[in-house]
């Protein structure tokens, strides 16, 4: 038996409040496995840190969301929001489930095409679509959602060049009673700008308006905002169909449904504040039914991203060192930092151990491995004493992190997917030097030796 390490004694101020009886033993949150596969085994085999996605959970969440809408509205389709997570394997799962692609740049467009998605199954959004990519999208029959008057000009030029009528949709923005109002995208309904855009398109004579799109915000906690949004869109559709010769074939209400993540600054747990997918579906579909004339229902598109993927992603990280800070908090340095966790700006993550630990929980800080003062994953958490090699599981991290992560100071780690049958696949290899230096060029003069 090795000798116990000496450590200078400190007095820990235990913040109670958990129990009036006084014993500050908060329940340890423990996750031993993901999708039935032991996390310890994953780390032993694939190293640390690791992003882990669970296929079964993705599919279940998609089906649940699809059912919530399809049992309320007869004509609904999801567009997988690429920017939320555009790892091929992730996109492929959604496409297999029946989602089309929703992209916001030529890069994402190329990615979807590369994956085998046909142009007609791509929704092309975004405030800037380079001319060449618009040309390609038109040729391939993508659903193009116009954001600006300049884009109308570009598309008309393309239509004339290709000598064909181009179906297009416009993005709308409106007041839905939420703050901030995302008015920088698309055309505003209340000011009459949106109807101007419709008239402008009709006057051009080469584009055919067949869809309406809007996206009112992100992590929307109020389903009523969608009710207002959808109502205004359907009313706008009605007036477009009356005032112009266009027939609106689809409306795309965008995304922004919240996931069960705890926002910083919101006190209640997500189980209480985050509406269920049924609440969102109810708001959107009843708004259609209440505002539509007759029974010619436009197709309803949803660009749900975060809600579908966030909770299926985990980041497994290991303690590499620990120390006691001057204020007596315990500081742990782990091998994954904020370079991998873009969403730490908003979220207070769920941090779990991979096994029960004995001992009292003490106030701790979790710091990433970057040589930067801001690399703090969690600055106030009660943890039992951990040692090097102990693992923490951070979740939900499925949305936005593997797209907005940075190669900064460290390489980006492996990404795994635990498949439905319990097997494990690497869906993105960890980086090495060649990945980073491949694009670099060293002028002859600067070569060392």
């Amino acid at each position: 038996m090795s000798k116990k390490e000496y450590e200078k004694p400190v007095i820990i101020r235990v913040e109670s409040g958990f129990s009036k009886a006084g014993v500050p033993l908060p329940k340890q949150r423990v996750r031993k496995s993901i999708g039935g596969v032991s996390i310890n085994e994953l780390v032993n085999k694939y190293g640390s840190p690791l992003f882990v996605f669970e296929e079964k959970s993705i599919r279940e969440r998609y089906k649940r969301a699809y059912e919530a809408f399809s049992t309320r509205y007869p004509n609904v389709e999801f567009g997988w929001s690429y920017k939320t997570n555009y790892l091929k394997a992730i996109c492929a799962v959604f496409h297999q489930e029946g989602a089309i692609a929703e992209v916001v740049s030529e890069f994402e467009y190329q990615k979807a095409r590369e994956l085998g998605i046909e142009g007609k199954d791509i929704i092309y959004n975004g405030p800037y679509k380079p001319y060449d990519s618009l040309m390609r999208a038109v040729k391939e029959g993508a659903k193009i959602h116009i954001d600006t008057f300049e884009e109308i000009n570009d598309l008309e030029r393309i239509a004339k060049e290709l000598k064909k009528e181009v179906p297009v949709a416009i993005r709308l923005n409106m007041d839905t009673g939420v703050y901030p109002q995302w008015s920088r995208f698309g055309f505003n309904i209340e000011s009459g700008q949106a109807m101007d855009a419709v008239k402008r398109i009709e006057a051009g004579g080469v584009l055919r308006l067949n869809g309406l799109h809007a996206h009112i915000g992100t992590f929307m906690l109020d389903p009523h905002a969608y009710y207002v949004e959808t109502s205004k869109m359907v009313q706008f559709m009605n007036s477009v169909e009356t005032k112009s010769g266009f027939s609106i074939e689809y409306i795309d209400v965008g995304g922004g449904f919240a996931s069960k993540n705890r926002l910083k600054g919101i006190y209640q747990p997500p189980e209480i504040v985050v509406p269920s997918i049924d609440d969102y579906a109810e708001a959107i579909t009843s708004a259609i039914y209440e505002n539509i004339h007759g029974n010619r229902y436009p197709k309803l598109y949803l660009e749900t991203g975060r809600h579908l993927i966030d909770e299926a992603g985990y980041l497994v990280t290991s303690v590499v060192a620990s120390k006691t800070l001057p204020d007596s908090r315990r500081s742990y340095i782990v091998d994954a930092g904020v370079n991998l966790l873009y969403t730490y700006f908003w979220y207070k993550f769920n941090i779990e151990l991979t096994e029960e630990k004995s001992g009292i929980s003490e106030p701790s800080v979790i710091n990433g491995p970057l040589c930067m003062n801001i690399d703090v994953i969690e600055d106030s958490i009660l943890l039992p004493r951990l040692k090097r090699g102990d693992m923490l599981v951070i979740s939900p991290v499925g949305a936005y992190n593997v797209t907005q992560w940075m190669q900064f100071i460290r390489y980006r780690p492996r990404v795994l997917m635990v498949m439905e049958d319990g097997s494990v696949e690497i869906i993105r290899e960890s980086e090495d030097l060649s990945d980073i230096e491949r694009r670099e060029k060293l002028p002859k003069k600067l070569e060392i030796r």
């Binding site: 089906k63 059912e67 809408f69 399809s70 049992t71 309320r72 509205y73 007869p74 004509n75 389709e77 029946g98 046909e118 007609k120 029959g141 009528e165 067949n210 027939s247 609106i248 074939e249 689809y250 109810e282 579909t285 039914y289 007759g294 029974n295 010619r296 229902y297 436009p298 197709k299």
Partner: protein, 693 residues
């Protein structure tokens, strides 16, 4: 302008004249009418008499400003035609007899209209009853007109020329054929029979069979075979057999048996009337035929007999084809409704089911939502909110008027049922197709419609609930006879639904099966909208070489408001679009038209936006084949349709529809829907029809 319209009207009058001649033999073909017209001039008196009959009826119609469109079919004037002939048959042509013919045929025309407006409300034809009546009246009256008699009684001896060179049993048949037009000549009869044979094998065989069957029965009763053959009124058997066996009933074994019965009845009627009528020196004419056929049809129509030819086509073969297509493609004998929900639901109870779908209420469906494990609820299922179906939108299954609603009953908690108000909250809608549909167990105060509202199929009417006798939230739907709650139910089908990847049309799911609602894609829907008067040009290729070109025009039928494509030669392909399905349902025209190929290549298109869907459909030899093969197969199909009901499978992926039709060989088709409007191309085996833009 005036000259053009006068020409157009003259053409209509000419058309009705020719149609009227053919109509006597139940033929709808103006060319055949023209041949018959020519043949009637074998006897100048009869030929002229017929023409005088028609012209006077038409002139009278014009005088009273009757719309010439009504006359075009020949239906209103074949009775005046026959009356004119009967005058020409009895008397020589003179000013007096012409006058008589005019008066008599106008009387026949008037009686036609009177009888038709009386009988048409029963859906029964008047046949040549006006003729039989008026001619009898005329012959009776002429007994007094001695002036006419002695000078101008017509002599028809020459008609019997050459009949000796055929055996009696053959010559008598042809003679009877001729007698239908007052020309009891073997040769004239032979021509008429050939025309009938050319027009329809079924009708010709019925004429032959009916005649000999009638003669056989008559000879059994009377004891003399020769006398039976010589009976001048034996032509009635021919008309009865053709009318019942192939014209007013759909050709088939049952109809053939009925027509044999009808012939037997007419034998008795012929002999009975002959005795009575002869007393007054009146020929029996077509009275036995009319009495027997009208009586049969009256009763069958009252009984809503399934094989009653509600739609009579140009030939019995075409009537049969139309009937088979309606029956198997659209289940036309039962009503059809849309699914009352959106998304994927599961059948909880079907027709004749174990719990409540019994007795008067056995034709009903109950639906719930089930998850992958087959459970209809999440958690422990103790609360209404746990049930997936609870508060889901309920959509109108038909377009029609709301006749009754109730929405005040509470949703029972799980474990309790309300067995006083069994139906719970409900909506009863009177469909524009003429039946009532009831949807019940709706959620309290969830109704979006009220009594008197017009709803369109697919519109929301309320939310699924647990009111009434309902163990768990579900949707109950039934089609019923009356507008009242608890009215007797009737069997029905669902217009379209999806089961896995297959779209089923006019079908019923089994208990426990999961089905999804079917909804049309607005884009496809508008691309397959055809605006009246638009013209589509096509080029036809065979083995990459252009062989032909043609154009289609979108038109609307003047009477029925039905839409069709018409090519340059006047062939018509009827189409419709409803409930998210585009389909062709009728073709009128010649064998060689490309329109027929289009019908065959894509009889129906599900306007589904899904990536890939599959559906089944049926065709008949009438659509698939041409020439002798079509004639033979359709004739055989009247005895047993099964081998001639050609099934096919169609698969749609995006704009491309691939079809495979199992006829006497496998036909393959490939149709591409245009990006903007209409069809881009249609390929059927080696023929490619491509749109020219």
């Amino acid at each position: 302008m005036k000259i053009v319209s006068a020409k157009k009207e003259l053409k209509r009058y000419l058309n009705s004249t020719l149609s009227a001649y053919a109509e006597v033999l139940f033929i709808q073909n103006r060319a055949i009418g023209a041949v018959i017209l020519a043949v009637t001039f074998v006897d100048l008196g009869i030929g002229l008499g017929a023409l005088i009959g028609i012209v006077s009826a038409l002139a009278f119609a014009a005088f009273v400003r009757m719309d010439p469109q009504f006359l075009e079919s020949g239906f209103y004037i074949y009775n005046p035609l026959l009356v004119g002939m009967s005058v020409g048959f009895l008397f020589k042509i003179s000013l007096l007899t012409i006058f008589l013919a005019i008066v008599a045929s106008i009387l026949a025309f008037l009686i036609t209209i009177v009888m038709n407006s009386l009988l048409s409300s029963y859906g029964v034809p008047i046949l040549s009853l006006p003729f039989a009546t008026v001619s009898s009246v005329l012959y009776l009256a002429s007994l007094n007109y001695s002036n006419l008699f002695y000078e101008s009684l017509n002599n028809h001896a020459f008609l019997t020329v050459g009949e000796m060179c055929l055996p009696l049993w053959i010559s008598s048949f042809f003679k009877s054929m001729g007698t239908i037009f007052f020309l009891p000549s073997v040769w004239v009869g032979a021509i008429f029979f050939s025309l009938l044979l050319l027009h329809s094998r079924i009708a010709a065989v019925l004429a032959l069979g009916g005649y000999y069957f009638g003669v056989w029965i008559h000879s059994l009763l009377s004891g003399s075979y020769v006398n039976s053959l010589l009976n001048p009124y034996a032509f009635n058997y021919i008309l009865v057999a053709a009318a019942l066996g192939g014209i007013f009933l759909v050709p088939g074994i049952r109809s053939y048996l009925l027509s044999a019965l009808g012939v037997a009845v007419s034998v008795v009627l012929v002999d009975a009337t002959a005795i009575f009528w002869t007393l007054y020196k009146i020929p029996v004419f077509t009275l036995p035929f009319n009495l027997s056929v009208i009586t049969f049809l009256f009763v069958l129509r009252l009984l809503k007999y399934r094989e009653f030819a509600y739609v009579i086509k140009r030939t019995p073969e075409n009537t049969l084809s139309y009937y088979l297509l309606s029956l198997f493609r659209f289940k036309s004998h039962e009503s059809a409704v849309f699914l009352p929900f959106s998304g994927k639901w599961s059948v909880y109870q079907g027709f004749d089911d174990v719990w409540t779908h019994q007795g008067r209420w056995r034709y009903a469906y109950d639906f719930v939502i089930r998850d992958e494990n087959g459970s209809s609820y999440a958690f422990d299922g103790s609360r209404l909110e746990d049930y997936y179906a609870y508060k889901k939108p309920v959509l109108s299954p038909v377009s029609g008027y709301v006749v009754e609603t109730l929405s005040s009953l509470p949703d029972n908690p799980i474990g309790e049922v309300d067995n006083i108000n069994n139906w719970g909250n409900y909506v009863i809608i009177y469909s524009t197709a003429g039946f009532y549909v009831e949807v019940s167990h709706l959620s309290q105060n969830s109704l979006k419609v009220k009594k008197g509202d017009f709803v369109e199929a697919g519109q929301i009417i309320g939310l699924c609930g647990n009111s009434g006798y309902s163990p768990e939230p579900h949707i109950h739907i039934q089609v019923q006879e009356g507008p009242h709650l608890g009215s007797k139910t009737m069997p029905f089908n669902f217009v379209a639904y999806t089961q896995k990847e297959e779209i089923k049309f006019y079908d019923r799911p089994e208990k426990g099966e999961s089905i999804s609602s079917f909804s049309s894609d607005k884009s496809l829907d508008s691309r397959l909208s055809f605006v009246l008067d638009s013209v589509y040009e096509f080029e036809v290729f065979k083995d990459m070489a252009k062989i032909d070109s043609f154009s289609l025009e979108v038109k609307m039928d003047r009477f029925s408001g039905r839409f069709f494509f018409e090519d340059e030669r006047g062939n018509r392909l009827f189409f419709a679009k409803e409930y998210g399905v585009f389909y062709f349902y009728d073709y009128v025209g010649d064998d060689e038209s490309y329109l027929k190929r289009i019908f065959m290549a894509v009889p129906r298109i599900a306007l589904s936006g899904s990536r890939r869907v599959v559906w089944r459909d049926f065709l008949t030899p009438r659509i698939v084949h041409s020439g002798l093969k079509r004639a033979l197969y359709m004739f055989l199909a009247s005895f047993c349709y099964k081998p001639f009901l050609y099934g096919g499978v169609w698969e749609k992926e995006g704009n491309l529809i691939r079809g495979e039709i199992r006829g006497d060989k496998i036909f393959k088709s490939e149709t591409v829907i245009d990006e903007v409007n209409g069809f881009a191309s249609i390929r059927l085996d080696e023929i490619l029809i491509r749109r020219k833009k």
